[in-house]
Symmetry: C2
Subunit: 329 residues, 2 copies
Amino acid sequence: MKILIDAMGGDNAPLEIILGAIAARDEFDVGIALVGREDVICRLAEEQKLNLDGIEIFHAEDAIAMDDNPLDVRRKADCSIRVGMEMLARGEVDAFVGAGSTGAMHLGSTLYVRRISGIHRSAIATIIPLSTPMLLLDSGANTVVTPEHLVQFALMGSVYMKNIFNIERPRIGLLNNGTERTKGTELHIATYDLLNEHPHINFVGNIEGKQVPFDKCDVLVTDGFCGNILLKTIEGTASFVLKKVRGVFMQNVFTKAGAVMYKASFGRIKKEFDATEYGGAPFLGIKHPVIKAQGSSNAKAIKSAVKQAISYVETGLIDEIATLNSSVE
Amino acid sequence: MKILIDAMGGDNAPLEIILGAIAARDEFDVGIALVGREDVICRLAEEQKLNLDGIEIFHAEDAIAMDDNPLDVRRKADCSIRVGMEMLARGEVDAFVGAGSTGAMHLGSTLYVRRISGIHRSAIATIIPLSTPMLLLDSGANTVVTPEHLVQFALMGSVYMKNIFNIERPRIGLLNNGTERTKGTELHIATYDLLNEHPHINFVGNIEGKQVPFDKCDVLVTDGFCGNILLKTIEGTASFVLKKVRGVFMQNVFTKAGAVMYKASFGRIKKEFDATEYGGAPFLGIKHPVIKAQGSSNAKAIKSAVKQAISYVETGLIDEIATLNSSVE
């Protein structure tokens, strides 16, 4: 097995990405490869005295910056995302990991790796690290969807959580503005019935925003617009509340013991909200495994994403999605 | 001025509602009236030795329960919400305050009080008590909207925040999945341009979920579906994070001083998130003031909602909405 990593993608590229590749090579029994500017990678390795033994480097002359238009992936034939996706499509590597532009990676995966036959839309799936890991999809790729798209998202999310998190019958929830069957727009009412009747989906009903953190489902299905709002609202609110708590405690901390207690406690809480330990966001519905690591990824996050990519390949979950989906088409 | 309160609406009705009416009578220099089962109200007042002097009671034989279908407001001609809305429409009272079913109150206000001429949809506006009070609308009434509806929501929210919170030029934001002008669905792209060009709207651009708690705008405009998801996700996440923090601190609190410090701090934080001090949710776009108090309202929350209703009447903001809207129609 060979995992290809985009050396040029992410806020800390290329150094942290290269360090992540080295850590992955040292820890996992698979081939590790980098795609990007070979001259830049080699010069950096020399400067920093990094040992790249056993890591293959595939040259890509160009790169897509975080604020470039995702459509540039069509125009820049030599950019690392495009070169990497094409290698993945040809089977020269088994999975692609990148921390670069989400839009460019998603478009690149759709155009050059392509979707699983019978899957109409691929989704960006994100693990929300609250009570227990919950998979949210779509978390941003498709702002407008149909009930059929949402049902395929549910099926793909179910297969993913079964294979990667060993959950026997993942509970599927539909994000909605109330728990009753008739809640939401026409989209939600139609989707509710389809999910309810589906032979391979363990549907637990509509999930409201206030229930999301409290372990009501393993997979939460929604359109990419609401998924984005949900994900970022959780992030913003958690950050706001923790800041508020810190401010209040700081005023009350008049003893050294209090200050020490405060620091230890907040370190633990922040760690609990750290999504990087789960790796990155899998693109579900694409023919070969693609993992989008967070833009702020450091070496540890890249290594986690590689670990996740290995499971994505090993479990054969893409074949399972294809088979299950065609059985109900 | 006379403020009418629904004695039968809310989790703590009728006792806490009656106590709220008494508190409002004692504090504010306006007429206070109750609508509901006169026999029930009088018996309770006798049992609890409550002084109802100066509080008018209007009898309504029926009531709508929290889990009744909102459409029941059409069928139950004698329910307190329906009777109250009809009195408001006839000008017998100046504002209506209720803590009952949001759906029934909103439908009742639309059917029996009716919308301001030229306003196509009325919205439920909610104050989010984070950094500074921010008005979210629509927070649940209209799951599907047009760009024109959203522009009217922005205008109404702007007039409300100017009059009630004394903000000279309220900053209007559009909830979206990114800050760039081209983000979102067709609805958001079209709305962005309309808001940007509007002579009476101080549009500050798209607002992402993670920015919502951090004082980026005074009025946040969205459809009722996303508004509901946003509001409940903030509620759920804040509650989850505070529980988590409490859990971690409880394990660390080994001294009495620590426990005391913990209790004092959390009391303050919870108070900061307490929306009831702002009263309730105004329905904007209705011809006369209607305030929806939270279902869990106690006497204090009812009194706050009455205070808000008084400002709603006194400032004449409904006339201002009508004038401004007709000037740009």
